[in-house]
Structure formats: C-alpha cells, structure tokens
C-alpha cells in the first residue's frame, strides 16, 4: 500500500500537496495538465525529489533516506530507458545485478523474460538496432526481472504510434496481472487511462487528488479535468 501522508513539495513558485493511499495491486493513472505536477508526484515516490513536508510510505515503511535504486520501485522514463552502449541482454540484466556479474542461471532468466516480451534471440543486439516498440519491450523485460512491487511509468510510450502504444499498454496490464504489482502511470491521454487503469489521480492546481474510479471520473469529470479535456 502506497501512502502519501500529508505530503507537500514546494520549490520556488511551484507547490504540490498529496494526501491519499493507493491499495496494493491497484492500477492508477495520473492525469492532469502539463506542468501541473504529474512527474513531481512520481519523483516524490522514486526519491529523485524529497517532500518538503509529510511522508511517503510503502507498506507502512517511510521511504525517506532510501536511495532511488533501493526502493521497492521499477521506473520507466519518458526516454533514455536503455543504455545505448550496452546490449539488450545487458540492459535487461541490470534489473538483476547492477554490476552485471551474472550467473548462468541469471542469463537463462534473461532469455526467459526476453521471450516473454517477444524478443527471443535479440539479446546480443544494441538498442540502436531495435525499433521503438522493441526498445519499450526491453525496458519492460527489465522491469519484469526487477520484480519490484511498485511500477511507475512516466509516459514511456508517448513517442509510439496509437496501435503500438495500445499493444504496449496491454502488455503492461498483462504483466501487472502476472506479478500482482501496483502501477502508477502518468498519462495525458484519457484513452490510455480507460484502457488499463482502475482509478485516476487528478493532478492540478497544486493538488494531487485522491484516486477516483476511472469510469466514474470520466463520466462525471470535475471542473479541473473538464478544463483539461477541453
């Protein structure tokens, strides 16, 4: 269970408040206007930003003081999710060991997850030799290996075409179901949210609102969301 306990973050003129809980296994979309604080919310969870007040807790434990990589979290960024100078297998392997000193069993594991995301046999390639969709799959394969209970997506598929994006979202949904992980997904597209999430956190006017059931929020959008959707 992910808890924002009276969290506040202020920097210069920007501020964001959050005070709500996301249950384990939930799939939550984070929606709102650009510059409203969607990425800030995620960064408070990952640890790239520190709350100026309040606490972020996972399963009752305060995450403060834990380095991003040591938190129970996998993250996919908007871009630069793969190291261009490492092979596909190495990029995936980083999810097991940061120093890449892998055992034979672990190499086998990499092969297995690559097969799971339909990239069997491409382990030796460098990212430059892959298509955009394939690159996303590599990142997802690593996420699978990391096997962290909380998954954060910061619009990693925004550069893909609609069909490819849907395909990736479906894959994410499947993987979430398989692993039982909790998902927090930033999106600016209501269709994405409707496709795979159960609830929506609306971020705007300096507040990240508590999650509302996805169908309900789009059926009866609050004023802020109406303004955003246009």
């Amino acid at each position: 269970m992910l808890t924002f306990e009276g969290v506040g973050y202020t920097q210069d003129a920007f501020s964001l408040q959050a005070d709500f809980t996301v249950p384990i296994g939930a799939r939550v979309a984070v929606i709102g206007p650009s510059g409203g604080g969607k990425s800030t919310l995620l960064n408070l969870v990952t640890g790239f930003l520190t709350p100026t007040q309040g606490r972020v807790l996972w399963a009752g434990f305060d995450l403060a003081g834990t380095a991003p990589g040591a938190r129970p979290i996998s993250i996919l960024f908007q871009d630069n999710n793969l190291f261009p100078h490492l092979t596909v297998a190495q990029n995936v392997g980083l999810g097991l060991r940061a120093d890449l000193r892998l055992t034979e069993a672990q190499r086998q594991q990499i092969e297995t997850v690559l097969a799971r995301v339909d990239l069997a046999g491409l382990g030796a390639r460098k990212p430059a030799a892959l298509s955009g969709g394939q690159m996303s799959r590599v990142a997802l394969a690593r996420m699978l290996l990391q096997a962290k209970p909380l998954v954060l997506l910061d619009e990693p598929f925004s550069a893909l075409g609609p069909a490819l994006r849907d395909e990736m979202l479906d894959l994410v949904a499947d993987l979430m179901t398989e692993t039982g992980a909790t998902l927090l997904m930033v999106s600016h597209n209501p269709e994405d949210a409707k496709r795979i999430t159960q609830s929506v956190v609306l971020v705007g006017d300096g507040v990240a609102h508590a999650p509302v059931e996805t169908g309900e929020i789009f059926a009866n959008p609050p004023a802020a969301l109406r303004a955003y959707l246009g």
């Binding site: 790239f48 520190t50 834990t66 380095a67 991003p68 990589g69 261009p84 100078h85 980083l94 940061a98």
Partner: protein, 519 residues
C-alpha cells in the same frame, strides 16, 4: 536538475581531494617562496611595464587568433573535402610543439634568412622583419589559431541542422542566416575562445623574448626569472607570480561568466547542413592559406631534422623512452584528476564554477615558481632530484588539466542528464556506474583529453630543468643539451623525433577513444 535525496559522499570526496591537490600545487610553491623570502618585496616601474606588455601581447594574440579563426572555422564547418579529417587533426600540431622548435620553424619561414625573405630577395626586396610585437603575436597566432578554430568549429557544429533547414524553409538567405543563427552562436563561443588563448599567452616567455626583438618584450614570466636567478629575490618572484595569477584569475572569471565552448564533443566529422553556402572558392582559398601557414613551419622543422633523425646518439632515444613513460604517467594522472573533478563539479549545487575556475587558473601558474616552490617544499623531506621524473609528470598533468576539464565536464554533465536517473533507479552507483555508464560513454572525450595530456607532457620541458639528474633527462631536455653543446643539427633531429612522438601519442589516444562508434 533534480535535487538528490541520497548521499554521494565518495565522489564529492574524491573530487574535493583532487581539487585540493591542485590548489596545493598552485598555491603551495607560492607560499613556500614567500616563506623563504627575506624581507618584503615591492614591484617597481619595470615590473609594471612587464605587466602592461604581457596584457598587451596576450590580448592582441588572443584577439587576432580568434578573429582569424572565425572564417576558418566557418569554412571547415560547411565544406566537406578530401583530407578534411587530416586537417582537423593537424590543427592540434602547433599547440603541442615545444616552443623553441616552433620558433625555429617559424623563423625558417618568416625570418630574415627564411623562405619568404629569400623570395623577396629574388625580387630585389628587403627581407621580412619579424622581430617585434608583431613577431610575438605571429608566433602566438601560429600556436593558438588552430586551437581557437577547433573551439569555434565546435560551436558551429552544435547548431542543430533543423535550424538551418528552418531558415532555409523561411527563405532566409545570405547575411540574414548569419544574423539569426551564427551570430548568437559566436556571441556564446568567442569570449570563451578568446579567454583560453589569452590565458595560454599570459605565461609566454621564451617566444616573447626571442621574437620580441629585445627587452621591450619583457613579460611577467621573464621578470620572475630575473627576480629569481639574477637578484635571488624570492619575495619579488612570488609577488610577480601572484600578479600573474591575478591576471589569470581575472581572465578566468570573465571566461566562466561568458561560458566557454567545449573542447570537442560529438563528432567533428559531420558538416553543417547549410543550404546556402556561396563562395566555395573563398572558403577554399582561406583553408589553403591557413594550412600553408600551419604546415610550412612544420615542414621546415621536418626537412631540417629528418636527415639527422636516424643518426641520433643512443642517449637521445633513451631520453625519448623516459619522456614516453613520463607522458603516460602524466596522462593517467591528468585523466584521473580531471575525471574526479568533473564528476564532482556536475554534482555540486554551489561552487561548481569556483572549482572549475581553479582548474583554469593553473594556466597562469609560473613554471619557474612552481618548480622552485616544489623544490623548497620537498628538499627538507626528500631528494628532489630522485623525484624529478614523477614531479615532472605531476606538474605536466596539472598543466593539461584545464583542457581535460573543458572536455570532460560537459560530457559528464550530458551523460548524467540523459542517463543519471536511469542509473540511479537501477542502483548503479560508485564503480559500477563508472564502469558501465560513464566509461563507455566517455571514451571519446577521455581519449581526446588523454591524447592531449600525453602530447603536451611529451613536449614540455617542465620543471625538470630545475632539478635534473644527468641520467634522467627527458627528450626536450636532451634536445636543449644538444643545442647547448653546439649540436644544432642533432637537436633538429631530436626535434623531429619529439614532434613525431607527440603527434603519435595524440593520434593514438584520440583514435582509441573513437574506435567504438557504437554509441
């Protein structure tokens, strides 16, 4: 950049250590001289005249180098031709040449007995008069025009080609392209290039004297020399060294304030996709003239020395071997210092500029004062002669640090901006991050820095002249010894050996960094 919620103490620690070492190497010798000085020193009218001449020649040299470099860089930026890569590599040559060798090469072309004077003689005209302020400036332009060209070329290639396409699509042509795209870039790049050249010319001494035509061309470094060996007035030597630092610090402050271009970065191989590039003949002529200006003195040095290259005494070759190991040690030290400082600088929230400027300040350090000061510090505790080679390597490393920093800081910053969070999220810290994230992506700038550091160390006489041991002479010292015992021909041969080794070192490491283009 995002604020970090976790500690990065070891990197900051290493970087701070490297910075402190650097500071100690700059300020320690100065302090030692003051400590040993008897009585308080004051500067006289002659010293201020030296300060004025130093500022004048450095300003002129830097201004002319930079102004000439603009059209040359533009020509290189927009033309693709056979030998372009070789020409860009050659741009590094004058910069890494030992000064006396370069002066002899220049004289062979521009001197009273040089090629141009000989041609004028056939026409019944008097010989060129190279000696004077204009001679000093000519030599400094020879050394630094290529460097300035490289810095400015970088600025051109950093303009995204989309912008050239955009102005083309808006049907903007000719001068207006310059106004919209090139002039803002030049405004960013020129002050920095100017300041780098200015700093380099600040400590010039042998060149200024040899081509300056007499004591009018007294620089601060020569005044330091006089204070130290003529009057043995350590206090005045240290005071003059401080004045030199002051000039350097002022220049460094301005330089950081106006932002310096990177030394290299993503490939110099591409050309600017400028859709309107008229006057091809003009660019061609310009490049020919500049190549001639750079190549002719180099060619003279080679022609002069080549016949003696293979009949050099064995001791010259063993000195070359020694110089190679000093160069490699110096290179390793420079790269490690620069990398640790760069890693720290990009993580500092405050004071990053200060740390960087310390890196530049070494350019204003007086080699004589550094040598003498280190001697004073070391003498009570160790045998400075036995340490001559390691000290030479360390001081040489320090002198190439500004260039390594200029290259590495932006590169590390780039990598951290693109991949820092990914690495953080995967818990790649410390050595793992260095090995798997930074090292592979830094190979190009590291190769360039390493090559430059090795080549600069190879050609520099450094502090070894002050505490040499007959059995541990470096190649430049051995070359000077040949000259000092009338063996000018063999010295010319040694100069070719030196030139060849310096350029090879640069080429090997620079190439090595580019070998894996799979980035």
């Amino acid at each position: 950049m995002a604020e970090r919620a976790f500690k990065i103490i070891p990197i900051i620690g290493a970087g701070a250590g490297a910075t402190l070492l650097l500071l100690a190497l700059i300020l320690g010798p100065l302090g030692a001289l003051f400590w040993r000085a008897e009585g308080v020193a004051a500067l006289g009218a002659a010293d201020w005249a030296a300060v004025r001449f130093t500022v004048l020649q450095a300003t002129l040299s830097a201004a002319i180098s930079v102004v000439l470099a603009v059209p040359v860089a533009r020509a290189l930026a927009r033309r693709q031709f056979f030998g372009r890569g070789a020409l860009i590599t050659l741009l590094g040559a004058p910069f890494i040449l030992p000064v006396m060798v370069a002066v002899m090469g220049l004289l062979a072309v521009f001197g009273r007995g040089g090629a141009i004077s000989a041609m004028l003689g056939w026409l019944g005209l008097p010989p060129v008069h190279i000696y004077g302020l204009h001679g000093v400036v000519l030599a400094h332009v020879f050394f630094n025009l290529p460097l300035a060209t490289r810095l400015i070329l970088q600025g051109w290639l950093a303009i995204p080609s989309e912008r050239f396409r955009l102005v083309a699509s808006l049907n903007i042509t000719g001068r207006d392209v310059g106004r919209i795209l090139e002039r803002p870039m030049l405004r960013d790049v020129l002050p920095g290039a100017f300041m780098v050249v200015f700093l380099i010319c600040l400590t010039s001494f042998a060149v200024a004297l040899a081509l300056g035509g007499g004591p009018k061309a007294t620089t601060v470094e020569l005044a330091i020399y006089q204070a130290f060996r003529f009057d043995f007035d350590l206090g005045r030597a240290a005071l003059l060294a401080m004045v030199q630092f002051g000039m350097g610090a002022a220049a460094a402050a301005v330089m950081l304030w106006v932002a310096v271009p990177t030394m290299m970065g993503a490939g110099l191989g591409r050309t600017v996709e400028r859709l309107d590039a008229p006057n091809a003949w003009w660019d061609g002529l310009l490049l020919c003239v500049m190549s001639l200006f750079l190549v002719a003195p180099l060619a003279m040095i080679i022609v002069d020395g080549l016949p003696n290259l293979f009949s050099l005494p064995a001791s010259v070759y063993s000195a070359a071997g020694r110089s190679l190991s000093v160069a490699l040690l110096s290179m390793t030290t420079a790269v490690i210092l620069a990398l640790t400082i760069a890693l720290m600088v990009v993580r500092l929230k405050r004071g990053a500029l200060l740390v960087e400027s310390i890196g530049y300040l070494v350019l204003a350090a007086s080699p004589l004062v550094v040598g003498a000061g280190l001697f004073i510090v070391l003498f009570p505790v160790a045998d400075p002669v036995a340490l001559a080679l390691p000290i030479t390597a360390l001081v040489n490393a320090m002198m190439s640090l500004p260039f390594a920093l200029r290259t590495l800081v932006p590169a590390v910053r780039d990598i951290e901006a693109s991949f820092g969070r990914l690495a953080d999220s995967l818990q790649m810290t410390g050595w793992v991050r260095l090995r798997l994230v930074l090292w592979p992506r830094l190979r190009r700038p590291l190769g360039f820095s390493a090559g430059l550091a090795a080549a600069l160390s190879m050609g520099d006489l450094g502090v070894i002249a002050l505490f040499s041991d007959p059995d541990s002479a470096t190649l430049p010292l051995q070359m000077y010894r040949l000259m000092a015992t009338y063996r000018m021909d063999q010295a010319a041969g040694a100069a070719v050996l030196l030139l060849g080794l310096s350029l090879s070192l640069f080429w090997i490491f620079d190439r090595g960094g580019r070998a894996d283009a799979d980035l």
